[in-house]
Symmetry: C2
Subunit: 407 residues, 2 copies
């Protein structure tokens, strides 16, 4: 089994990178804090003798080759190390660091695997600074050209390509340069199911569809004291109506649709001025493509009605759109078997979050292993998983890799 002490210590070490003065952890993609995290990761990869490669979108690969297996397709493990704003410590990092433990354990045992084993840390999985999310793996899998991706303008007005150059992670390898034999991503669930049901391993068989839009509502600025309600074209009120509409739809979906408005801004943003402009994002998800399309259509229809009734103009821009994904049945079974060998309860489940595995599934057999998130909290500094679950998940990953490598 894996070296749990090293894994837990490294999670803490990486988790300290990117803390601000208020002790909030933020390592947005291609930021200075992301660079510091990447630098640390590469030191660790080299300590275990891995060959480190960086591709043009900044994805980092640490590859364990032997002379005998150099021409074989590698088994790829991994996830991401970028974070949201004021993030937890486990999201992404757990999968990357566990990958290193799997390799180190096999190395220590003197195993000579039939194929290379590699660990990837994909660029900009979170999608907070640059949209879409899962961008590094999307580019790697050929779903977005590297040129277009590098031209992405961030929420702070920066260009991803320039920021990658600036932090020294605009690599030279062409995305896709390693064709994986399989991709397995170990991750915290980030939701409440495993924790609630007291199950330590999720065998993730699919992942729900994700639709991100940025909606802009244009009204007319006017005086808050003198403008009769009936004469207002209040962009902020219209935005609030969209937010409550989305919640009503989600409530009516029997727990299937989730909808979130996570960002908003008004212009001119003054206490006594009716907002002339409201801009906000919508994150819509459903495990069923047909249903997700229905939600998108319902929103579009509602925006049309609202534009007419509030006399505002409304436009929307798609920031990300990913259909639901099914994972590789064979690997999902290997996960269940590994759990049962280790006497762990497991459960087949759907991922509510987007993950790099959903992109890698386009180019190789892929699946995911989940471990419980205490109280389902994630994208929050309180994100936590019991050490025993972290260790169990890494050992399941080790067993699946052993199996796939034919050790």
């Amino acid at each position: 089994s894996i070296n749990s002490e090293r894994l837990l210590k490294r999670l803490q070490d990486l988790g300290r990178i990117g803390l601000d003065n208020d002790n909030k952890r933020t390592r947005l993609a291609a930021s200075d804090a992301d660079k510091a995290g990447r630098d640390r990761l590469i030191v660790w990869m080299k300590e275990d003798g891995l060959e480190v490669e960086i591709d043009r979108i900044g994805n980092i690969f640490g590859i364990w080759y032997s002379t005998e297996n150099r021409n074989e397709e590698p088994i790829l493990l991994g996830s991401h190390i970028d974070t949201v704003i004021n993030a937890g410590m486990y999201d992404g990092c757990y999968g990357v660091l566990s990958g290193l433990e799997v390799i180190n354990t096999l190395q220590k045992k003197g195993v000579k695997p039939s194929r290379p084993i590699a660990v990837a840390a994909f660029t900009n999985e979170e999608g907070v600074r640059y949209q879409p999310d899962m961008m590094g793996s999307l580019v790697y899998a050929g779903g977005l050209s590297v040129e277009d991706a590098l031209k992405t303008v961030g929420s702070d007005g920066t260009l991803l390509g320039e920021e990658l150059e600036r932090i020294g992670y605009a690599g030279t390898k062409e995305p896709g340069f390693l064709k994986p034999y399989a991709y397995i991503e170990l991750h915290i669930e980030q939701g409440p199911i495993l924790d609630k049901e007291g199950i330590s391993i999720g065998a993730v068989e699919n992942l729900q569809g994700i639709s991100w839009q940025r909606i802009t509502i244009e009204g007319i600025a006017n005086h808050a004291g003198t403008t009769p309600i009936v004469m207002r074209r209040d962009a902020g009120l219209a935005a609030a109506r969209v937010i409550t509409y989305l919640r009503d739809r989600a409530n009516a979906s029997n727990g299937q649709t989730v909808a979130t408005v996570g960002t908003i801004s008004f212009k001119p943003n003054a206490v006594n001025v009716v907002p002339s402009l409201a801009t906000f994002t919508v994150d819509l998800r459903n495990p069923n493509e047909q249903r997700l399309q229905e939600e998108e259509q319902a929103l579009a229809n509602y925006l049309k009605e609202l534009a007419a009734s509030e006399e505002v103009s409304i436009s929307s821009e798609q920031l990300a759109r990913f259909s639901p994904v099914s994972f590789d049945e064979n690997i999902v079974k290997l996960i269940e078997q590994a759990a049962s060998k280790l006497e762990l309860h497991s459960k087949r489940m759907t991922s509510g979050a987007g993950h790099d595995a959903q992109m890698m599934a386009r180019i190789c057999p892929s699946a995911m292993i989940f471990v419980p998130s205490i109280e389902g909290i994630s994208h929050n500094p309180k994100e936590a998983t019991n050490d025993s679950d972290l260790i169990a998940g890494a050992n399941v990953l080790l067993d699946v890799v052993n199996n796939l490598a034919g050790n």
Copy 2:
């Protein structure tokens, strides 16, 4: 009658100060742009031989004394020259510059008024950067201590006192140093009534009550994809519910209550994170104190219910609170008489906006003259008034001053 050419030209000149690269006009209180506007105003005051005084809260006074009337209480005209964000050209400036025209006209005619005539430009009337609004006149009238006012922290984190020092407008006169005989404020209506009814002069007999609050809602940040709707504590959704609630109340008030949410921000403000914090302002107004209190109480009750139903915590802070004000009946009559002498239609009306006159009414007989705002648009660069109405309003002011000065 007044020199309309000079008035219209100066409105344009002052209106060009504070334009940004996008041609948006913003002269927030005690900013660099406000300083530039103040400097220009003082040049104009000195051109007409006025004595310029600045008080400790930065209010500017240009006083026309004669040797004979130096010991009399002055007739004070004026308004403010600070603006909202992306403002129009007339709000405030019209009253200040018309005051200068009234004095200049009397000077040119060789009138020797029985009392000094003075023009004030009060600090921070808009209240966008520092709350409460009408701060300069409030301090002048003794409703807020100058020490407390100077300690006000702005929406940008600055201290008003430090900013006034920085721009060179922390004067030495004690607020209240001139005890006015009367205060008359000429202003654009900023609302649609006069324009709609084709009436050129509003004789403003009262002003509605204003209540400003900042509301902070605390929820729990969580993952937008994995957190079931029923487990969310979504501060942003709760904020949206407050916005639509306020609109429903206003709609039910028979055109009496107006309610505006002009500013908002979410934290962490990321597309895939349920907001943990929402902060927004509420601007509530009603011409009747009793009704305004009912609206405040209804909102407070709603916030309590909402905190329980959405499992969030909600706090609110009063940023400004002014009861409705009645103006001086005698001056209102003089305004009506002046309009009728000039063959202008006039109408008694209520001010929907807050004005410095409502503070000055605490220390001397005060009233306001309104002129039409085309389509009722204000706090917007499209704010406009026909030249003929601007000139008519200034001539009404001239006549009222002549009357009060016993010329």
